[in-house]
């Protein structure tokens, strides 16, 4: 997949820790780590909504399309 998560960068800009964000969004630290490390296969709209609300950003700030990215292909999912 060529979708990249730039959660760490947005978090750094907002000065918020992973634990604090997990608590505010209402998901587990483990799940947020999965998302941050680009291992997630899908993201719920509710999670994205909560992330954008807490980080005061738009989905485009967190998710980027990188065509040169050599991530997992659809067939590997």
């Amino acid at each position: 997949m060529a979708i990249r998560i730039h959660l760490d960068r947005v978090m750094l800009e907002r000065g918020i820790s992973l634990t604090e964000l997990a608590g505010r969004v209402g998901i587990t630290l483990a799940n947020l780590s999965i998302l941050k490390s680009n291992k997630a296969r899908a993201i719920r709209f509710s999670t994205l909504d909560a992330l954008c609300r807490e980080l005061n950003c738009s989905p485009g700030d967190i998710l980027k399309y990188d065509s040169s990215g050599g991530g997992r292909s659809e067939s590997q999912l």
Partner: protein, 179 residues
Amino acid sequence: MNLIGPKSIASKAHLVLKVVFILAIVRVLLMSIAPVLPYRSLQHLSFDIQSGPLFVSFDLLRGTEAKWWIWAMELVSRTYQAVVLYLLMRILAPVGLGEPFDLKTPSRLRIMGCVVILGSVLRTLFCAALLKLGLRPEPGVWISWAIDFDAIFMGIVLFVLAEVFRRGYALKTENELTV
């Protein structure tokens, strides 16, 4: 009581299967070490062996050759049972822990399917060999080398179940990685 998960029926069944599997292994080892049929069996005019999908019944008093054939078939049959028990035990292990969709369950089900089909083929070959050697049963005692379609059907069902579990595991992984 829950059907799956810790302290459930599945975990208890796994424990029972463990014991039965150990007994089956001991039985196979004993048969391999001492390849002699119980003496009392030889006293009977006919002797039935029914072990899983293998079923044959014929006169034991027709000579030692028949006796050795019975021993060989019995050994193969017991080994086959031990393999199936082992696979069942391994399939139930993750179910007992509350994780029915395990990565290795599909391959174990596929192996079980192969074993079941192979068992029916071996039975057919065994019975055909008996007839070819002239070790024919007494009148009224049935022996057939026809293909066991029930076992083949069961094997195919196990292959289908393997695919079901494979997809279940894929869905589980997908769900776990959805944030």
